[in-house]
Symmetry: D4
Amino acid sequence: MKLTNLDGRIIKLLSEDSRMPALRIAELLGEPESTVRGRINRLVEAKVIEFVAQTNPIEMGFSTWVMIGLKVVLADLSTIVAELEALDEVYFVAMTTGGYDVMFNAVFENNTELHRFIVEKLGAIDGIRETNTFHYLAVPKRKIAFLPISDHDKATERKRGTQA
Amino acid sequence: MKLTNLDGRIIKLLSEDSRMPALRIAELLGEPESTVRGRINRLVEAKVIEFVAQTNPIEMGFSTWVMIGLKVVLADLSTIVAELEALDEVYFVAMTTGGYDVMFNAVFENNTELHRFIVEKLGAIDGIRETNTFHYLAVPKRKIAFLPISDHDKATERKRGTQA
Amino acid sequence: MKLTNLDGRIIKLLSEDSRMPALRIAELLGEPESTVRGRINRLVEAKVIEFVAQTNPIEMGFSTWVMIGLKVVLADLSTIVAELEALDEVYFVAMTTGGYDVMFNAVFENNTELHRFIVEKLGAIDGIRETNTFHYLAVPKRKIAFLPISDHDKATERKRGTQA
Amino acid sequence: MKLTNLDGRIIKLLSEDSRMPALRIAELLGEPESTVRGRINRLVEAKVIEFVAQTNPIEMGFSTWVMIGLKVVLADLSTIVAELEALDEVYFVAMTTGGYDVMFNAVFENNTELHRFIVEKLGAIDGIRETNTFHYLAVPKRKIAFLPISDHDKATERKRGTQA
Amino acid sequence: MKLTNLDGRIIKLLSEDSRMPALRIAELLGEPESTVRGRINRLVEAKVIEFVAQTNPIEMGFSTWVMIGLKVVLADLSTIVAELEALDEVYFVAMTTGGYDVMFNAVFENNTELHRFIVEKLGAIDGIRETNTFHYLAVPKRKIAFLPISDHDKATERKRGTQA
Amino acid sequence: MKLTNLDGRIIKLLSEDSRMPALRIAELLGEPESTVRGRINRLVEAKVIEFVAQTNPIEMGFSTWVMIGLKVVLADLSTIVAELEALDEVYFVAMTTGGYDVMFNAVFENNTELHRFIVEKLGAIDGIRETNTFHYLAVPKRKIAFLPISDHDKATERKRGTQA
Amino acid sequence: MKLTNLDGRIIKLLSEDSRMPALRIAELLGEPESTVRGRINRLVEAKVIEFVAQTNPIEMGFSTWVMIGLKVVLADLSTIVAELEALDEVYFVAMTTGGYDVMFNAVFENNTELHRFIVEKLGAIDGIRETNTFHYLAVPKRKIAFLPISDHDKATERKRGTQA
Amino acid sequence: MKLTNLDGRIIKLLSEDSRMPALRIAELLGEPESTVRGRINRLVEAKVIEFVAQTNPIEMGFSTWVMIGLKVVLADLSTIVAELEALDEVYFVAMTTGGYDVMFNAVFENNTELHRFIVEKLGAIDGIRETNTFHYLAVPKRKIAFLPISDHDKATERKRGTQA
């Protein structure tokens, strides 16, 4: 989806207060409420924006929070990713370069649950060659709203970007 | 903060629709609206819950999305984490075990911007011994709302958890 | 097993002198001997406490003392652990994260015996992908009695523990 | 200390029941009680044998159980080991080959305590180049009593041991 | 430099025969020779295209052909790259992610010359933490002319590229 | 092919200007044009020299430029190399020592194309055990013309080369 | 074979001059020549000592000198070692710990021969999981005669050796 | 030193029996004894050949036999190598590529001596960043006499060697 300038300004306001009503956004931007409401709906449908009540896994009672890197048989990569996506404990999955083919994040009530997950769930997936588990001991920053890069930024980039 | 049973039920509803008004939640749970509004405020103040308009970095124009692992001089660990937290490009920071002391995530418009970040920003932080950058090529799952572990779950866990 | 305050005080005394008679413990704690004897029996039956004559493997004539890390086929993890447990040379087995799936300790009379063990015993176990052997050259500290974390400690922890 | 044949037989009995009284051992071995008592005292003084009430760290409330490998500045190795020995959380320290210069074990109430330990205690020790932390998720075998290798075993070894 | 459609067609012809005269290119494309000559000059000045007599290092007498990966102090990265660029033996330098901060290629008459290079030239550069040298034993493919991605390709990409 | 002194002087001139006509080279070297033209043809036929219009992949629209290292089943090494050679995205392939069995370079329009390449193309090749992808963020030096080592150089080498 | 004091003194003399005649050794040690000759024969038959004309591989025309580390399927370890022993290029084979299961040394006329060896010879051996090749660029020390540890040394050792 | 055909034939005979008298070699080759004796002397003086009474370190009482890989500060490489050469325990030193800058071999009476060596000797050498120790558990092949590559071999090589 191609973002318009108006989309960008709406996203900026919602990133400051995700529960701000469409009416208030319309007032701040000087646009009709129906236009704003329509844009927000389109952004949500296109999965550009998603309204989320983000919770802290530690506060929710999960004391074991990990990132697991996998080396896999490449022919099985897509299947493995689909199987990981289907697991409740797994909340983030990425295909990656730099030492692991897949990295995913998961939370568990404790180390015993992590152990069970590795044996029963990962152990049941074909094509995993090697796993490496990284425990998160503390998470001081966690922000998930990204703003669109403005046209001004892009122009600046282009000038600086000639070095490579 | 100790979560009550009511907190848990409110979080469950908000995790399904983060923009659901307090009035609707109150109706669904059969509680006075003022009670629900009060609990939500407390949850937000205690940073147990945070309302977020989550956006997709790829759609926002960031084509370079990375996880960077750091090995550091342990005496500098706290300072390094504080410096990383202050950087705009960095949206997640964790202290970790398992091969890296710190792992953080960041997004960039392109590889040239990542290069500049490494040279200018990471290069200016003392105590980093080694960096390893993992590029996210695709991110098929990304979910950030965790529900509280219910008392029922906990009871179950306790019985199973005696093995270690 | 839920430890009582009395259990904790008994464990503390036994950790100082594991051969202290129940009668002496009862005197020191001001409890009837039958109570103390009963608690000790329960602690032993629940495997919370185990009375051991710990010996030094070097003094016993074992000149090769190792920790071996294994990367394994996850589907075979439980079987592999069971097979390792059954081996006389192996005195400690753990499922782990951080680069190895299993770590175990073993002692041998010399390197030739370690070599035979690797070829004949590990070589006979299916599902081992990679082994890495670490030799202990010197062991200046070796203590195996852990005291229960007191309630006072726990309260302190809880206040400090909110950072993650 | 050179172990006699009688020492070996005493150790064998104590390894089966570490609280067996000297009188009972004397009866079983057909030796005067004073002799047995004298040998036991000598074994304990020479630190060949140590009577321990071994407890399970998980049952004691420690949910984070780790092995930490260190790469260090070799000139600082002895000092580092001495500093680790002095730390309460650390119950085992070994100088090693095979990827780490030092490996040690420690237990913590939770990951937050481990984090504090890394920052405050390890961070205060000079000469550590790199740490790698392995979490124990489950410990199905844990035995610490080693029996002396018998003369018969030694003879057998010698014949087999000519291959290297 | 923004490439025109004509630039693309000129590059395509030169990639097939780099010594093709401008006159012949002009005939094939149905453009005036002066226009073609002018475009070629601009492409060369902008370093988009470079005419090279590529030679095979093995045939030239270099029996040691290597890729060397470096881990460096990030604050010194730019200086290190500049010093590597100035070395005659080094014919390719890249800043990289994925385990090394810098990778470069070089050729030597034999291993003794490589050894001298490591000691005298790399040893004189500050900020190198670690080097890893990979020897090329055989090079069955080596092609250095890249064609511009056509507009048609780009349209195709865009449709397929929505997955990330 | 054994290079003559004249070959060396021709290569030197062509390395300075690869489009220099044979006539001009003949004048500069004081040789008949037919001789020079004949030598150049032989050098090209023997693949000692190749005339190339080298282009910059970044300028051509490839924003993802990588080196990929492979660990492979050795019995499949030759087949794997042949399959890599046949892939359009791959412009350089080498058999190597030092951690990878094969290293190759490739360029892609973006990370999504790299992802597709890994899944569809590498995933279809049998015998690959492990891949590691290194992204080039910037390429400040890229030179591909090697001059023959002169006889003078060789004499010098021989004297210095006795140390190994 | 148990070495006598006379054996030790003979070995010491031969280590200084391996071509010293038995008669000269007998004179220096004040023993009958027949005794000395008899001891030497026994030492050679027991493979305790071997008379060798050691040559420098570089001087013999081998410009590629390597150590290759292997990770193998443990069940195949003994077979793999036997196959390596049978290869002419391989002059040293060891079963090892510390990251590789087997390490061996070999020499080749050049890198092309090493490449052929890896593809044709190592590629034909079953059970090799991973190889890593280390090139020797220079070998400043190479000594292969070890003297027996004297009784005096052993006594010293025993006193110092109690620390582990 | 340039080896003649006669040198090659002498080396071949000595490699079969290093104590063969010059007179016998002369007879077998049909050359005057004085010529053979002269060639042998020149080969020894040029260190092309060295007569050695090779002994087995295990038989000599060294139960700990290791290869140690070092990563070093490159500026200190030459000094480090010189210091290693001067150590009695070290019998082989090589500058290497492929993960370590230096590899050396050493033998020790036991692990305690190895430990002392690491702390006292390696710990006293500046510029060592990292050590990795590999223990040899068994050494089934150990041959140190290399024959010169014959002219016939070289001709064969040249034809096959064009592939790289």
